[in-house]
């Protein structure tokens, strides 16, 4: 199911080591998919399908869990509560305190949506982290961006928010000529959203590439020769990276959510 036709053909075909066939190295082409089907000019690709599926799974699970919440929870509700409370106690409260509870409704969907999308990297048949397609990352970053600007204006006023970017007590000459002002402005307008998105994208992209490389390598190295030994090593790496990626999937969702909470806190906080 790995993307590009050439690589797929090479990888699934009889291209093995010592057969005069070069290693069909995975690359950017592995992240591009042919449309599964097209509606008019719209080509519906595998990442899009997985994204929709993730949305359905997340909404589906929480619908079942919280459709009719009861004081004494059933099994599914307990699990859902566990999930929500984990986000509340591990992500929102450490950063925002109790007043952050009202932002749960943004951060909980964010966390589980990202987590599910990342997890798709490891689930057989899907095996693609949707967040390695930056087209799915930017909307989330955009949402966070709008939210923290909005909260900044709301809690500090239009001018006040811009003022709060500059650390108080710093003399104006330094702010202007020491480029502090420029750095701060760039931080809020470009660096924060950019790093937020690219961090998630980069991790998932690299993870998928790693997995693909070792999987393809395993197949490529498999031949009735010393290559079998290499293949065994490659299989070990696949397992190792698999475990690593299961951690990274969770971690990146966690980091994205925590940073979102931090930016929100930054916008709400008075006096830097």
């Amino acid at each position: 199911m790995t993307g590009d036709v050439a690589v797929s053909a090479a990888a699934t075909g009889g291209c093995h080591i010592f057969s005069g066939c070069g290693y069909p190295a995975p690359g950017l082409q592995n992240f591009d998919f042919r449309p599964l089907f097209t509606i008019g000019s719209w080509g519906f690709t595998k990442p899009e399908l997985i994204a929709v599926l993730c949305g359905v799974i997340v909404v589906g699970f929480f619908s079942v869990a919280f459709a009719k919440p009861r004081l004494i929870p059933g099994k599914t509700q307990s699990l859902g509560e566990l999930a929500v409370l984990a986000v509340r106690d591990q992500i929102v409260r450490p950063v925002l305190g109790k007043k952050g509870d009202s932002y749960l409704q943004f951060i909980v969907p964010l966390f589980f949506f990202i987590f599910m999308m990342n997890l798709m990297e490891l689930i057989p048949l899907f095996q693609f982290p949707v967040m390695s397609r930056i087209g799915f990352v930017w909307p989330l970053v955009f949402g966070v961006y709008i939210l923290y600007w909005y909260l900044g204006f709301k809690s500090k006023g239009f001018i006040g928010y811009f003022k709060s970017w500059i650390p108080p007590g710093v003399p104006w000459p330094i702010v202007i000529f020491g480029l502090l002002g420029l750095v701060e402005i760039l931080k809020y307008t470009i660096f924060q959203p950019f790093t937020l998105g690219v961090r998630l994208f980069g991790n998932m992209f690299a993870g998928h590439l790693l997995l693909t490389i070792f999987m393809v390598a395993t197949w490529y190295l498999t031949s009735l020769s010393v290559g079998l030994l290499y293949a065994a090593g490659s299989v070990f790496m696949v397992l190792f990276v698999f475990l690593l990626e299961s951690l990274v999937s969770l971690l990146q969702a966690f980091i994205f959510s925590t940073l979102t909470a931090t930016y929100i806190a930054d916008s709400l906080e008075h006096g830097h």
Binding site: R34, G43, A65, P69, V84, I134, G135, P139, G143, F205
Partner: protein, 189 residues
């Protein structure tokens, strides 16, 4: 979207494929809308309610316990008070009884003493009286008898006998008066 454009987008992985951008936006908005706006408020409310119920229950239990303790203390105090009261009353009754008995005894003793005293006084008085009258009478009687005996002794024995009889009869009849009236006369003679 056709393959060439996708391949073109692959040149710079930081630029979004706009199809995906739209799909991503829509899906996330749906997830956020349903989860954040519909489901999470419900569970937040439920959690708050549960916390409230648990805390309320704990508070209620605490109150009930406190109330029970208060009541028990109150009952204990009342019981102690009642016991104290009872013992006090018993003591009072005993004292009263003892007092009554003592009073009665004293009264009875006083009465008895009074009666004895009165009787003794009467006896003494009567004795005194008897003694006095006897002394007076015996003296006069003896004197009279002696004078008569002496005065008429020489007459005769018959006359003497008569006189003694008469004298005795006088005593029997008029007691001492006739004798006493006659005695001075007799003695004067």
């Amino acid at each position: 979207m056709t393959l060439p454009i996708a391949a073109e987008a692959a040149q710079n992985p930081l630029l979004p494929n706009w199809d995906e951008f739209i799909i991503g936006t829509v899906v996330f908005l749906i997830v956020f809308g349903l989860l954040g706006k519909l489901l999470l408020p419900r569970i937040t409310k439920t959690l708050a309610e549960r916390e409230d119920a648990i805390e309320g229950g704990i508070n209620r239990a605490e109150n009930a316990q406190k109330e029970a303790a208060d009541l028990r203390e109150q009952y204990r105090a009342q019981l102690a008070e009642a016991a104290r009261e009872a013992s006090r009353q018993r003591e009072a009754a005993r004292e009263e009884g003892a007092q009554i008995v003592a009073e009665m005894r004293e009264q009875a003793q006083a009465e008895a003493r009074r009666i004895v005293d009165a009787a003794q006084a009467q006896i003494a008085a009567e004795r005194q009286q008897a003694l006095q009258s006897l002394r007076a009478e015996v003296g006069s009687l003896a004197t009279e008898l002696a004078s008569r005996i002496v005065g008429e002794s020489l007459a005769d024995t018959a006359r003497q006998g008569r006189m003694i009889d008469r004298f005795l009869a006088e005593i029997d009849n008029g007691t001492g008066t006739a004798a006493s009236t006659s005695a001075p006369a007799g003695s004067g003679r």
